[in-house]
């Protein structure tokens, strides 16, 4: 699958309180959460972005709380994937589990500028910056994670595992 969207750049250590402030965690519906996506980092973010756009960030994206509401808010807001130099551990798991694609690339963060048009091939992990005319490659997922992704997320993966266990 190839994603095409505009880059929205953020710095390093974007925390989950910035992605979705806790004051909105009294509900868990993704559409509700999406209305406040990145609110405390950039109050105009939702006005600037269009469905299919890409978040590009520095190191440790998604640090802080374990709230799965953070990747849910990003996904439901219409962001197609997040590219960052590195991801906080819990955010990384959560995003994979709920089906928000992540790509890890420090070079992408260095070279991509705000507003650049990106073409991201999730299968190959390649990121093409159309404005710059360069193609970058993200760090591949470990094989175990690819299994979860190809199962369609953790719930489907577990469903298969349970069936397998029952069959034995």
């Amino acid at each position: 699958m190839v994603i095409r969207g505009r880059a929205h750049k953020f710095g390093s250590n974007i925390d989950t309180d910035g992605i979705i402030p806790a004051r909105y965690l009294n509900v868990s519906e993704p559409e509700e959460l999406a209305r406040h996506c990145m609110e405390d980092v950039d109050p105009d973010f939702l006005k600037k972005m269009e469905p299919g756009d890409v978040i590009v960030a520095g190191a440790n994206f998604g640090c802080g709380s374990s709230r799965e509401h953070a990747p849910l808010a990003i996904k439901a807001a219409g962001i197609s994937c997040v590219i960052a130099s590195s991801f906080a551990r819990i955010f990384y798991r959560n995003a994979i589990n709920i089906g928000l694609p992540l790509l890890e690339s420090g070079e992408a963060y260095q070279r991509i500028e705000e507003g650049d048009i990106l073409e991201v091939d999730l299968e190959n992990g390649t990121i093409k910056d159309v404005n710059k005319g360069v193609t970058l490659t993200a760090k591949p997922y470990p094989p175990f994670m690819r299994e979860i992704i190809s199962s369609g997320g953790l719930v489907e993966y577990t469903r298969r595992r349970i069936k397998g266990l029952d069959g034995n």
Partner: protein, 420 residues
């Protein structure tokens, strides 16, 4: 193998594990709260299973937006309560609970050598007991409720050795803020932190909980201590089932060893908006504050309240400051009451809140208005963490927080204690 590897190997039926290995450890305890359990319940239902794997190994603690702050929070808490009843899950009700990470060790529900996951990032707190405990999201927790295990990558371990003996008014909070200040908020990303050395051996269990609690603030997967006499003494009246004590081998490997001489460090204050902005107290004295919070899963234990009360006894809080004291559990509240601490707080002009996460994450019980400044014993000072995005949170230990509440500005206890 080091301590973390020993525990993970024992839980995955392997004689040896190494950093980078993917394993499926069996879990001793699975935790969720009123914010994270609702999503977990929805995902669990999607599996189509009728029962969780073992209700005796799952705990729900409605501690974040309770006593319910509004109708949507009440609905979430209700959903959690009803699922717990239906499944027979261990559940604590308002009035008989505490902040999850204060409550579970106190109740003897987490023990050394165990593997615990929780849908709360501060689950790493239990490392103080020599358990491997880590935070995850709701879907991971939901799947673990079904299978009793979870996937995990064996982390690299960074050993931090604290030499020397800390000075007066310096405790676990200062050591961990100092550490995060030195290595940064991603200094231990994907790794486990093993805390050791003379200085932490001399720190109380409550102080160790504070340190392990904030391992996540350095990006760590877990923070862990070896079990010693203090741990065993803490567990004696609490542990309700047998447990295994693991030790790292003498030739255990670490990805990095960091050594600090902490004998001369000052109390630390983390400036807005990152726990890694830790500076010595003397560098931040004089910052005027509107509010002080003493509590949370980081510093809401009895020792924390005792330290604060020592400074607040007979004193009056500055007229421009609101001091909010939040005992971390019903037991902490009751013990504080018996020791006369609650009377000291109220007489000084503080408000005492029921046990709740409350203001720590900007939930309720002390939300900040635009531009307000708060000195807090909690764990995070991100933008908007305690209220308006333009408000500011400074982090410190309970002694600095209490002294500053009296002074109306950030200061140390020696500036406000009279007659010493």
């Amino acid at each position: 193998m080091n301590l973390v590897e020993r525990i993970l190997a024992a839980h995955s039926g392997r004689s040896k594990v190494s950093p980078g290995d993917f394993i499926m450890p069996r879990l001793d305890l699975i935790l969720a709260n009123d914010i994270t359990a609702p999503l977990a319940i929805k995902e669990f239902r999607r599996l189509g299973l009728k029962r969780v794997f073992d209700p005796g190994k799952i705990v729900f603690v409605p501690d974040h937006f309770t006593p319910n702050k509004d109708i949507p929070s009440a609905e979430q808490a209700k959903m959690v309560r009803e699922f717990a009843r239906e499944q027979g899950i261990i559940y604590f009700e308002v009035g008989r609970l505490g902040i999850e990470h204060v409550l579970l060790p106190e109740q003897g529900l987490v023990l050394p050598g165990e593997v615990v996951i929780g849908a709360d990032s501060h689950t790493c707190t239990y490392g103080a007991l020599g358990a491997f405990a880590t935070g995850m999201g709701s879907t991971d927790i939901a799947m673990a409720m079904a299978t009793g295990d979870t996937w995990m990558k064996v982390p690299e371990t960074i050993k931090v050795i604290y030499h020397g003996r800390v000075g007066q008014w310096v405790g676990g909070k200062d050591l961990i803020l100092y550490t995060i200040g030195q290595i940064g908020v991603d200094g231990a990303l994907y790794a486990a932190l093993e805390f050791s050395g003379e200085a932490v051996k001399n720190i109380s269990m409550d102080g160790r909980f504070t340190m392990a609690n904030m391992a996540i603030e350095a990006g760590a997967k877990a923070g862990i201590f070896e079990v010693d006499e203090k741990t065993l003494l803490y567990l004696k009246p609490r542990a309700k089932r047998p447990y295994a004590v693991y030790q790292g081998d003498n030739d255990a490997e670490y990805s990095r060893v960091i050594e600090f001489d902490v004998s001369s460090i000052e109390p630390q204050v983390s400036l807005p908006h990152s726990p890694a902005n830790a500076v010595p107290l003397s560098k931040t004295k004089g910052v005027k504050i509107d509010q002080v919070v003493i509590g949370s899963c980081t510093n809401g234990r009895l020792e924390d309240l005792e330290i604060a009360a020592r400074i607040l006894e007979g004193a009056k809080i500055h007229p421009d400051v609101r001091l909010i004291v939040i005992p971390g559990s019903s037991k902490v509240y009751l013990d504080a009451l018996k020791e006369g601490l609650i009377e000291i707080f109220v007489s000084a002009g503080a408000v005492v809140s029921p046990p709740t996460c409350g203001p720590c994450l900007g939930g309720h019980m002390g939300i900040l208005a635009a531009g307000e400044k708060c000195l807090s014993t909690t764990n995070r000072n991100f933008v908007g963490r305690m209220g308006h995005p333009s408000s500011e949170v400074y982090l410190s230990n309970p002694a600095i927080a209490a002294a500053s509440a009296i002074a109306g500005q950030i200061t140390g206890p020696e500036e406000v204690i009279q007659g010493d």
